[in-house]
Symmetry: C2
Subunit: 354 residues, 2 copies
């Protein structure tokens, strides 16, 4: 493997000095880019794009061609795992992801496969290897998976949900069944992320999109506990270099202290938590990633610059901060506005590093 | 007006002793009740139902006929105010509320009316008077309005929104215009709630459904500030009795301390905040209302009872707690499960009051 030319992202996660705050953007390879939409049209469905290593590599590289970003993230989806467990993922335009089968009973649970990451999920590992080769050490590659709780919501509901009727009915009414489902997902996710690291992922992120829909107590029991198991099971090093992990629970700002104890290198924050407060609460236990409101990118460039300054100022001086949005970039954002964001981080952040 | 026979709700908000924890349910007059669906079918559209004082009274009374609840809440909608300001509210089945006109410019702002609550919103006041008469002092009647920020999201977006593209573009790009809009809504809301109180509302609640989509700083500036103005402008007494106010920001658990300083009598909490922690954070400044996860009602009755016990236990002994869900009841909840909730509060809560 080529030597890594830009290690700002990894250094910031390790609290090592950097010349400026590293930056990447959640969902940076996405629909806001016309070149992404062109490749997507060429590929067919969203999953066709995920399953084609060359095209997945192409879209992964697109934001790096436009912007001077400090990390690449594998182009894939958190629902590859439950798909490989046998649920049959498909997408309905305007309605989001759906599963042909759901998991609501003992019998459903028994039917679930434990996928071999180099077999049923081999297309993801091929994408990781292809992207690493194409990156040629330019920036690190981030691998990822969904949190067991978040994946379970889709598996039990059969798709996206507003009120989580079925999984919460199970959580309150038959928690033992839910724990066994979460355990199966956790085992599959550990194998999946280990394989991503073996294939070349240099950091991993766990997305807990729906952990914030839980009470503080249930978050500990049904989400954090399983993310902790994942983090503990992953190799801490690969190719002689630390492999950092980042946990991100959307709307998880109320329980940052316990997230900081989960063993990950970093925590992702959405914009509903102030970075200065977060830093005070978690100390040096974890690095912090975030947390510009993605909707700030709807504002004109001058206003974007002001908001970038506020985020940098709230974290303050020193390492341990990875600049990002507080959630994925929206599809209707003007790519020129992203340029304004990138420029602002490049120009304003060196003042926070001596 | 008849003497109030059940004042548990008002006493709990005032931290006065009660024999058991008072209980009402957000959206208690709603689609989960077959009798509501029957009246709604008779009325025509949702707004036809709101505009008909007799039928609005009928649905307000329905949950009280089924369950021994400690408060009634006016059947209406938070969007009556922007409708009366001239935007033309209508509902599209499955898509939620929509406005014929939006507010995105200086010119749009100038067109907005300041509605006279006894004229354009007279149908709401008629409903309040009709319900008070029908209640005949059985339980207190709660009036309500949306928070200016929440109302503004609908006015600027033209309906519900996922990412608040337009209003956040305005907030970050032209905050001065947004402040003038918020100010107009605030003035209309003050007049509206004053009229509800004059017509017979014995407590008022302000619903800030979307304040939790803001950063902590922007929440203060664009939401809480205006709710504070509303609370300060309302009469503290009517008919020789205190008129308590309750502020509720969904996903507002991170900034409870500042909400507790806003001058209201109580705060509504969703289930992502632990009641014991909340009590510790706000002290005796405000009473607390909440906070069972509405999706706990999908579980079987025995599990509902366990969850009710947990909520009661987390608040602990003494007055200052109004039992409620952490958000509105979902339409697919079995009314028998609501019976289980009511029974559990009745049977388990006296132990927390000596």
């Amino acid at each position: 493997m080529s030597e890594l030319k830009n290690d700002r992202f990894l250094r910031a996660l390790a609290h090592q000095p950097v010349d400026r705050t590293p930056l990447w953007i959640m969902r940076q390879a996405g629909r806001y880019l016309p070149e992404y939409r062109a490749t997507r049209a060429k590929a067919g469905s969203f999953m066709d794009l995920c399953r084609n290593a060359e095209l997945a590599c192409e879209v992964t590289m697109q934001p790096l061609a436009r912007y001077d970003l400090d990390a690449a993230i594998l182009f894939s989806d958190i629902l590859t795992v439950p798909d490989a467990m046998g649920l049959g993922l498909y997408f309905v335009t305007g309605e989001g992801p759906k599963f042909e089968r759901t998991v609501r009973s003992e019998a459903d649970l028994k039917q679930l496969a434990t996928p071999d990451p180099e077999d049923e999920l081999g297309y993801v590992m091929n994408a990781v290897r292809t992207i690493r080769q194409e990156l040629d050490g330019r920036v690190p590659l981030i691998g990822f998976a969904g949190s067991p709780w978040t994946i379970a919501t889709y598996m039990v509901e059969g798709g996206s949900s507003r009120d989580f009727a079925n999984i919460k009915g199970m959580m309150y009414g038959n928690p033992e069944l839910l724990h066994r489902l979460l355990d199966k997902i956790t085992q599959s996710t550990i194998a999946y992320l280990k394989a991503q690291i073996a294939a070349g992922a240099q950091a991993v992120m766990v997305f807990d999109t729906w952990g914030g829909a839980l009470s503080p107590e249930n978050y500990q029991i049904f989400s954090l506990q399983y993310m902790k198991k994942i983090v503990a099971a992953l190799p801490k090093e690969a190719d002689g270099r630390a492999v950092p992990s980042i946990l991100f629970t959307k709307n998880g700002g109320q329980w940052l202290e316990s997230m900081a104890e989960a063993g990950s290198t970093g925590l992702g924050l959405d914009w509903t938590t102030n970075l200065a407060d977060a830093k005070r609460r978690v100390g040096d236990k974890v690095a912090l990633q975030g947390n510009l409101d993605p909707s700030a990118l709807y504002a004109p460039p001058a206003a974007i610059r002001t908001e970038v300054q506020k985020v940098l100022e709230s974290f303050g001086t020193g390492s341990g901060h990875v600049f990002n949005l507080g959630h994925g970039i929206h599809q209707h954002i003007d790519p020129e506005h992203v340029s304004a964001l990138v420029e602002a981080v490049h120009e304003l952040s060196p003042a926070y590093h001596s």
